[in-house]
Amino acid sequence: MALYSDKVMDHFRNPRNVGVIEDANGVGEVGNPKCGDIMKIYLKIQDDTIADVKFETFGCGSAIASSSMATELIKGQPLSEALKLTNQAVTEALDGLPAHKIHCSVLAEEAIKKAVKDYYDRSGIAYDPADFPVFEDCDHCGE
């Protein structure tokens, strides 16, 4: 049996929405090099909608696939919907991830939330901090 589902391999080999948005109005980066994965999400938000989203990822196959899938799931969505994205939704959309790779889908969820929070901060929009838990640099090595 292959390590990853066909869906994961497809998104890993042909990642959607890779790159940088130069005039992004929300950017979120999670993870760190010591742990071996960093995800960076760029958002262009217009009229409370994700008009465009791009990502850059340093990490394993499932980290790249999770970023790609997460961006697909929120692209064109209202901001309120994007904020509801969970790591489980990313994992399910990828037809599952190996247990020790679930962490990658968590990073994708966190990177998007962090980018939205950045958008709120930049735009002076009030929000409930409880909706944005403190994003640890890394949830598994404590760095």
């Binding site: 010591k34 850059e56 340093f58 990490g59 394993c60």
Partner: protein, 396 residues
């Protein structure tokens, strides 16, 4: 497909396969059986033992067949630890970059009250006999140091370490799993008291190995049962496997110089080609290394994605990245030579085979260069290095 993972396992040689077949199809008797048919298997077993001994400069009765390198490592270390403990010696010397078969056995012994000194490995992937000499104490029961490292291929000064241990009268075990059949080994000349090897690393079958133990060492049995292997390893002997091991070892040992002459230039060509990738570095000494081993770190990328994309291009390789091991930390070997975590995650091991040509090497260089360039292009870590937000570890 380009199979560049010969340090993981090798393709079986025709000679080894042919040596095994009669003992599956025809002479399938149990060597412990009294009748002639069983004794045929027993004769084969003893001839294999003598041939293996000859390859190592040992005597036949010093050879015990095991299920592989890991079992041999476990048995060697546990035997000497417990023998030492009986004399009040509960200190063991090893290195930080041993195989887990050694390190995990030492961890277990620590729980039994043994003290373990793991020697620091120099940044070139070597330790010195002087380090061993300095670490030996009155209560040292064993020195266990690998012959050649499985990840970075560096060859340790085994004869010098053996001489130090002999002078200080401390038993010396070496895990020679990567060395046997690839480098010349003479256990007597090198003052090696115990040595582990595994058949599938030199084109023999999987699931069979050898523990050489100098006469006078009373092995502690890890598997209890019948009296096979002089009562030191219970279980009906894996005769086909043992015949395959002996044939493969003889063939490999007869081919060591040719193997080195063929592979060394290819290895060096591959190293030179990969070094052209900016911000990359070879792991381990460039000359004191196995002729088949190339191990690199590339800044800004992660090893598992590198392996998956190389696999798409038909190249089988391995990495010391945490993601490929399923653990949270990258390779303990790369950390032991001082590679920072972030660089160790971006490692690649290519272990060459005798069937390779210059063209194969060109293909590998082109594929790795392409994949590293692509992955750096989508890596925010690489962007930070390029824009100066983070500092490079390697020179360009």
């Amino acid at each position: 497909m380009i199979y560049a993972d010969n340090a993981a396992t090798t393709k079986m040689s025709k000679t080894a396969i042919e040596a095994m077949l009669p003992y599956m199809e025809e002479f399938y008797g149990n060597p412990s059986s009294l009748y002639e048919f069983g004794q045929k298997a027993k004769e084969a077993l003893e001839s294999a033992r003598a041939r293996v001994a000859a390859c190592l400069g040992a005597e036949p009765r010093e050879i015990t067949f095991t299920s592989g390198g890991s079992e041999a490592d476990n048995q060697a270390i546990i035997t000497m630890a417990h023998a030492g403990a009986k004399k009040g010696k509960k200190h063991i010397i090893s290195t930080a970059f041993e195989h887990h078969a050694v390190l995990h056995t030492l961890e277990k012994l620590k729980k039994e009250g043994f003290e373990v000194t793991l020697l620091d490995v120099h940044s070139n992937g070597l330790i010195t006999a002087q380090q061993v000499a300095d670490a030996i104490r009155e209560d040292t029961a064993l020195v266990t140091i690998m012959f050649a490292n499985n990840e970075i291929g560096t060859i340790q000064p085994i004869a010098e370490i053996g001489a130090v241990c002999r002078e200080k009268k401390v038993p010396f075990h070496t895990d020679a799993v990567q060395a046997a059949g690839h480098l010349h080994i003479d256990v007597k000349a090198m003052n090696i008291d115990m040595l582990s090897l595994s058949a599938h690393k030199f084109h023999g079958p999987k699931g069979v190995g050898v523990l050489y133990a100098k006469k006078g060492i009373l092995l502690e049995s890890l598997i209890n049962g019948g009296g096979q292997e002089r009562g030191k390893r219970a279980g009906t002997e894996n005769i086909p496997g043992i015949m395959g091991l002996a044939a493969a070892l003889e063939e490999a040992c007869g081919n060591i110089d040719h193997h080195a002459e063929t592979l060394t230039p290819l290895r060096d060509k591959l190293i030179a080609g990969l070094k052209k990738i900016p911000y990359s570095e070879l792991n381990g000494d460039a000359s004191q290394r196995l002729p088949s081993n190339v191990n690199f770190c590339f800044e800004g990328i992660e090893g598992e994605s590198l392996l998956l994309l190389l696999d798409d291009k038909g190249i089988c390789a391995s990495s010391g990245s945490a993601c490929t091991s399923g653990s949270l930390d990258p390779s303990h070997v790369l950390l032991s030579i001082g590679r920072p975590h972030e660089v160790a995650h971006g490692s690649l091991r290519l272990s060459l085979g005798d069937d390779m040509t210059e063209e194969t090497i060109d293909e590998i260089i082109a594929a790795v260069t392409d994949v590293v360039t692509y992955l750096r292009g989508i890596s925010p870590f690489w962007r930070d290095l390029v824009t100066g937000k983070r500092q490079h570890v390697f020179a360009e």
